[in-house]
């Protein structure tokens, strides 16, 4: 047992080191390559009000997506589960889009993330009510898929009804996900929810381990399954809802990260949580830095980049699963 424990320590330690490096790189990354802004006044403004919020949000958003993915995959006992499955991402997007569409976002900047948070909260409540009292994974997946389609349909309606082409472009661009032009206000708005969500999700670790043997064995091992379900859904809603509210929809991080780390921690759901939080931060921060390095005339959005990295990964997962199923 010792070597695996060391393995987990090593996974967490290396991910923490990588996260630290990615955070530093994000802080040092300027419009003209790496470097610190010159001049005392410029330094204060650029470093504290532009670069720091971006790096902090990247770390928070990545941690939220990674941890929520790990918890959901553990709870549903399915390596293909990801935070978007719960309908929370869709709800947060819809809330933010309504804030843009109604013009509230133009009046004061915080309206957009507040709209997103409200949307995420409503979506999570609806999913929990729809799924009802049963503890099986299937009802939760069905409720999440239903919620996602409702939110998607209403978002499309908002784009369709937008008063002018600029509004629809703004909505579409916002939905592609980005960390650029965020301020400390965004950090203060999102951080408490994300941190509370992470704390809730981490509490489920032992229950998720027990669930590896099925629901009845988990209950016999003293697991309070309804409580675990509630913590997974509410924790994901807080963390991913807040992340989506400030950064837009960023896909695939919650799917890939737990999947890649699982072999490093002996496949134990409990050991995956902290490592996934750190690796999620690494992935989002690195993607954001690489995007800023790319010499494109138009900004490539973060959500687009994670999708472009993530989709081939998904194909690889399909091929790998198919190979394993062959005799």
């Amino acid at each position: 047992m010792t070597w695996e424990w060391v393995g987990e320590r090593r996974a967490v330690a290396s991910m923490a080191a990588l996260a630290g490096l990615a955070f530093l790189a994000s802080l040092l990354m300027g419009p003209n390559g790496f470097g610190l802004p010159a001049g005392e006044r410029a330094f204060g403004i650029i470093f504290w009000e532009i670069r720091m919020p971006r790096a902090l949000l990247g770390a928070l958003v990545g941690a939220a997506l990674g941890t929520s993915g790990a918890a959901l995959q553990g709870y549903l006992r399915n390596p293909l589960a990801e935070p978007g499955l719960l309908g929370v991402t869709g709800g947060a997007s819809l809330g933010a889009v309504i804030a843009i569409h109604s013009g509230a976002a133009g009046v004061f900047a915080a309206a957009l993330p507040i709209g997103g948070l409200t949307g995420a909260a409503l979506a999570a409540t609806a999913v929990l009510m729809l799924a009802g009292a049963s503890t099986g994974p299937l009802t939760l997946i069905l409720a999440g898929v239903a919620m996602s389609s409702v939110a998607g349909a209403l978002t499309a309606l908002a784009v369709n009804l937008s008063p002018n082409p600029f509004a629809s472009v703004e909505i579409v661009f916002w939905m592609l996900g980005s960390l650029s032009d965020r301020s400390l206000v965004h950090v203060w708005l999102a951080a408490p929810f994300i941190l509370a969500g992470l704390v809730l999700l981490m509490q489920t670790a032992r229950g998720l381990d027990a669930l590896a043997l099925g629901e009845e064995a988990a209950i016999n091992l003293g697991t309070n399954l309804p409580a675990i379900r509630l913590m997974v859904v509410i924790g994901s809603a807080l963390a991913v809802g807040a992340a989506t509210a400030v950064a837009g929809a960023i896909g695939f991080v919650g799917l890939i990260v737990p999947h890649l780390l699982r072999p490093m921690v002996g496949f134990l759901p409990s050991r995956l949580m902290l490592a996934s939080a750190l690796a999620g931060a690494v992935l989002v921060l690195t993607a954001d830095v690489v995007l800023r390095l790319l010499p494109t005339s138009v900004d490539i959005r973060l959500g687009v980049a994670t999708a472009i990295i993530g989709a081939p990964f998904f194909l690889w997962l399909v091929l790998k699963t198919r190979r394993e199923l062959l005799p």
């Binding site: 695996e4 006992r77 027990a210 043997l213 009845e216 003293g222 699982r262 002996g266 134990l268």
Partner: protein, 271 residues
């Protein structure tokens, strides 16, 4: 510890699976629940593990209803081994067994000396030492079954409820498992197993409980309960408990015509 199902009725969905089941177990007993498919054996075990809530009647652990027990205390008092042998992630065998220590605040990678000793003893008794670092998902059905039994043993509960623990095991490991169950019963553990192998029940168990159509029909020593009359009444087969070199064996012949089964049931009478 004493575990008692007092005249319970249990429904799964809309179907009433148990109508009226009674079973009382005291410390040191090894009890087999036998009966045809769909008789309600698993439902009785799951109810006694506190996984299903009876519609009427009650399940009492030390004279106290299961629902009134603290979750953690219940987990340290009753170990339940489900019939399904699911291991959802490729956990190593020793980590699967270490999950049995969750009720003690320990678990895989977080074992204190007492936990470690329990895990090692469980691995040894189920002959798993050579498989301990193998992923459970790459084992044969019988090997997974042994790993899951070891998990329940590592839980070190006073009561062990096991749903067909020997299904899929080779004869040597079936005997090894029952020798182990006898041994822990000798140490004061209460064990109830749902079984299909009547010879194993006759050979190892102190009592046999017959279940049919959601009712516990007979309860007593194997010699009484596994009689030709009861076998005909419950399974509709001709069967007999014989002894070869002193070891009991239940031999069975072809199914009786149903009229003959009815006649035997009439002859067998009620308890």
């Amino acid at each position: 510890m004493r575990l008692e199902a007092r005249d319970i009725a249990v429904a799964l969905g809309r179907r009433r699976v148990l109508e009226s089941a009674c079973l009382k177990a005291v410390a040191g007993e090894l009890i087999a629940i036998v009966g045809p498919n769909g008789a309600g054996k698993s439902t009785l075990l799951r109810s006694m593990a506190g996984l299903l809530k009876p519609l009427s009647g009650s399940v009492l652990l030390d004279e106290r209803e299961l629902g009134k027990w603290d979750r953690g205390k219940l987990a340290r008092a009753i170990a339940y081994l489900p019939q399904s042998r699911a291991v959802h992630w490729p956990l190593t065998v020793e980590n699967v067994v270490a999950l049995g220590r969750l009720p003690y605040g320990a678990g895989p990678g977080r074992l204190r000396a007492a936990d470690r000793a329990a895990v090692e003893a469980a691995l040894t008794s189920m002959d798993l030492m050579s498989l301990r670092t193998r992923p459970a998902t790459e084992l044969s059905g019988g090997e997974v079954a042994r790993a899951l039994v070891a998990r329940a043993l590592a839980q070190e509960a006073g009561i062990l409820l096991a749903d067909e623990p020997t299904a899929g095991l080779d004869p040597a490991h079936q005997m090894a498992l029952f020798d182990k169950l006898r041994q822990i019963a000798g140490q004061g553990c209460t064990i109830i197993v749902a079984l299909h192998d009547l010879s194993l029940a006759a050979r190892y168990c102190d009592r046999v409980v017959l279940v049919k159509d959601g009712r516990t029909l007979a309860d007593g020593p194997p010699d009484e309960v596994l009689s030709s009359d009861w076998l005909a009444a419950v399974y509709g087969i001709e069967g007999r408990l014989v002894r070869i070199d002193g070891l009991p064996l239940v031999v069975t012949a072809s199914g009786l015509p149903s009229s003959a089964a009815d006649r035997s049931r009439a002859a067998g009478g009620a308890i």
